[in-house]
């Protein structure tokens, strides 16, 4: 006797080919076309996403409090945090660049953390409200997250070009590590979030309501 295994058409998130996968299987199934891991939904999506988000929130504090680099010029040391770097750009009349860095380094990380938190909480509560807006929010978070890395690159560029012992030297500081971790962790958190789960949850709740009405 062969057991009848229920197959479920599932779209591959990478190449968008519809594959038949064994539902609720612990076996690793691969997409026929791109050989990527294929699951009906990303496994432990909400848990992984929440864990990365929590870690990012914790690291957000040192990322903004500690300096990201120190400029030593003729023995005179001056440390820059993310915020003081932006203030310095404004002081040197570079306000268009200051605005870009302000959006990339402060606005985007904060909105990202708030946005992913909202998505996770709403999905967890099986909310049916604003599903389309939430899916659009997910796509927006996915696309803008990378721009927060700009300050890390500024540090990597400046420490490379300014290293004249005793005259001028720029050193990276621990805040840069924390800030880069925040960017990477929020990126992983949004990658791990599977937007289809919030549609599933909303649908399952809709089904339940229909049954009670009957």
């Amino acid at each position: 006797m062969t057991e009848i295994v229920p197959l479920r058409p599932t779209v591959c998130r990478a190449c968008r080919l519809v594959n038949d996968v064994v539902h609720e299987s612990s076996v690793r199934q691969l997409c026929r076309r791109c050989r990527g891991a294929l699951r009906h939904r990303k496994p432990r999506s909400l848990e992984t996403s929440s864990a990365c988000l929590l870690a990012a929130i914790v690291l957000f504090v040192p990322a903004n409090v500690y300096p990201i680099m120190t400029i030593v010029e003729l023995g005179d040391a001056q440390s820059d945090t993310i915020a003081s770097g932006i203030v310095r750009l404004i002081e040197s009349d570079m306000w268009p660049l200051a605005l870009i860095v302000f959006v990339a380094s402060i606005v985007v990380p904060i909105l990202k953390i708030l946005g992913i938190s909202y998505l996770l909480v709403a999905t967890h509560r099986k909310s049916q409200a604003r599903l389309v807006a939430r899916t659009k929010l997910y796509r927006a978070i996915e696309s803008v997250g990378r721009w927060s890395m700009v300050d890390i690159f500024v540090v990597a560029i400046l420490i490379a070009v300014v290293r004249l012992e005793r005259i001028a030297i720029i050193e990276p500081e621990i805040g840069a590590m924390a800030f880069a971790s925040v960017v990477v962790l929020t990126m992983v958190a949004s990658h791990q979030f599977d937007p289809r789960i919030m549609w599933d949850h909303a649908e399952s709740r809709m089904d339940k309501t229909e049954r009670t009405i009957e």
């Binding site: 779209v11 660049l97 690159f153 004249l164 005259i167």
Partner: protein, 216 residues
């Protein structure tokens, strides 16, 4: 190759019924013309878009991009002028200095986002497109093209470019910074790659890849 035998029954009746990758709703995909896009009826995700960059042209542009990539990495990107002393730095210099300050994790992030991921994307896309154009049945085409797509989020040359501009203005008071030859190659490469990845029809490439009809 798009066979009909591998499609579930509901999709055999209509050749263009697909699931949305973001909200999983099943829907009919209309035939779309030049410059048009098929949008999900429920969540507005772009399901398909018709783009026109030819594979041959994309290969030529990528080969040009490869040359720019090597110039961008081998030549100095920025020069410092401070009371007669000049100092040059390449992209890789920043990574080396980070490891000297015992910030290996940060060095790794910069290495991946500024050098490794863009390089893998250029080589990976060349591998896939050359195989399709000249009919080689090279191994792992699907996996390679998937990685080209996956790495797009982690390839941050455009952001690095912005970083160079911010760095230039930041040191205005301390020392004079001059852009090196690698900067211009880097800027051209960013524009070139953005054009290739926007104009290339990703779904057309997927459709042309061969794959088994049944899951193995």
């Amino acid at each position: 190759m798009r066979g009909s035998i591998d499609k579930p029954i509901i999709e055999m009746a209509n050749p263009r019924v697909e699931r949305c990758h973001d909200c999983d709703v099943l829907q009919e995909i209309p035939t779309i013309g030049h410059g048009e896009r098929a949008i999900c009826s429920r969540c507005d995700a772009v399901l398909f878009s018709h783009k026109t960059l030819l594979t041959g042209s994309a290969i030529a542009l990528l080969l040009g991009g490869l040359v720019l990539f090597f110039i961008a990495n081998l030549f100095p990107i920025i020069r410092l002028n401070l009371s007669g002393i000049t100092q040059e730095s390449r992209i890789v210099t920043g990574i080396v200095v980070l490891t000297q300050h015992h910030m290996q994790p940060l060095a790794l992030i910069v290495f991946i986002t500024a050098i490794a991921a863009p390089m893998c994307r250029i080589f990976g896309l060349l591998y896939v497109l050359v195989s399709l154009q000249y009919g080689f049945s090279a191994p792992h085409l699907g996996s390679v093209f998937r990685w080209v797509k996956t790495l797009s989020a982690w390839s941050m040359m455009d952001i690095y470019l912005l970083g160079v501009l911010v760095a230039l203005t930041k040191l205005g008071s301390v020392a004079q910074l001059i852009l090196g030859p690698a900067f211009y190659a880097f800027a051209a490469l960013v524009v070139l790659l953005a054009f290739i990845f926007v104009a290339l029809d990703e779904h057309d490439v997927w459709d042309r890849l061969q794959y088994p009809a049944r899951a193995t």
